[in-house]
Amino acid sequence: MGERVDKVDPTVALFEQAVDIHSRRLIAVARGILGSMASAEDVVQQALLNLYTHRHRYDWRDPGGLMRRTVVNEALRLLRRPRMSLVADEHPGSAATPDSEMETGETIDQVRRAIAKLPEHFRAALVLCEYENLSYVEIAQALDASVPQVKTWLHRARRKLAEMLTPYMESRDIAAHRGEPKQGDENENAR
């Protein structure tokens, strides 16, 4: 009697633990889906806050999956808004880098621009498949779609990206094969 018993909400502990473990990947997933259309950190924060507020409604047996689904949905919801504006988010790949890494930076920028032209559900499926290594069934669950739909989205996304990036890849390969400077460097030399 008289002993003080602290009543700790178990979902709060699960939530905090899951944030520590998964926040890095969640930001990366949000960046993959959003591109430069919104701040990935803001989207992840809003998604996790919503999850915390209604934490008693959810099944916390797979906190990583739950958080990923929430972030994906929040990102897609944001992208479907009628008015979107570009934001400056921190993209490590596009930051100024030493000469040896400039080519990689340029390649990443090319891929980023090409992926930004895809429909948002194509991007989401691609990120979940290739970055999160989810199965088609898990992707379908996360995106509230059927497995054949997911397969089609992935196939079309890859074919469109290939169309957009083939000219760049070929020019890069030829330049590397001949040991010539790239298009931008040629312009510099012409001056």
Binding site: R24, Q45, E130
Partner: protein, 194 residues
Amino acid sequence: MDDLTLRTLEAHLDGALDGADDAALLDRLRIEPELADAVGRLRAERALRGALWAANEPTPVAVMRLTSHLDEAIHHARRGAFWGAVSRWGTTVAACILMGIWIGNSVMRDGTPIAGPSVAGIAGAGGSVVAGGGGDGVPSGYHVTLVDDRGQVEAVQRFPTLEQAREFANDFGQWQDRRQQVRQGRIQRVGDPY
């Protein structure tokens, strides 16, 4: 390269083919150089995208910024929920107090308990009224009318003689006075003479 073959190759790279299909595809890759080239191209495309996914990974600073902002947002939400609860409780208590006042007002009037019935007068059987029990007698009988504080008749008591009617009216008046004094706390009742 037809679409179906490309889809099969993509599924192979995604690890989505089952064991038998995957083994059959690997056999074909060994003997079909065109197919092997296609897989090589798909792998190269995937490696390009992989570079972007890796570049999208946040720095530790960005992760710390997120967790810090999230902590603040959660704290803010908790504080909002607390004051919301306080506000709801305050409204409930105020509503209870108002309800109590309203009920009290309907039972009490001007802070005084509603009076019980009082003697309006003693009347003869012919209808003449002898106010306060005074006046000459009327031989055929008398009645005492009891009214409430709004003047509504509550009861009529009949008596054969004026004397009895007066005695009842006096006794009733005394009883009412005593009851009023007890209610107002001016005296403490220790016994009942009636």
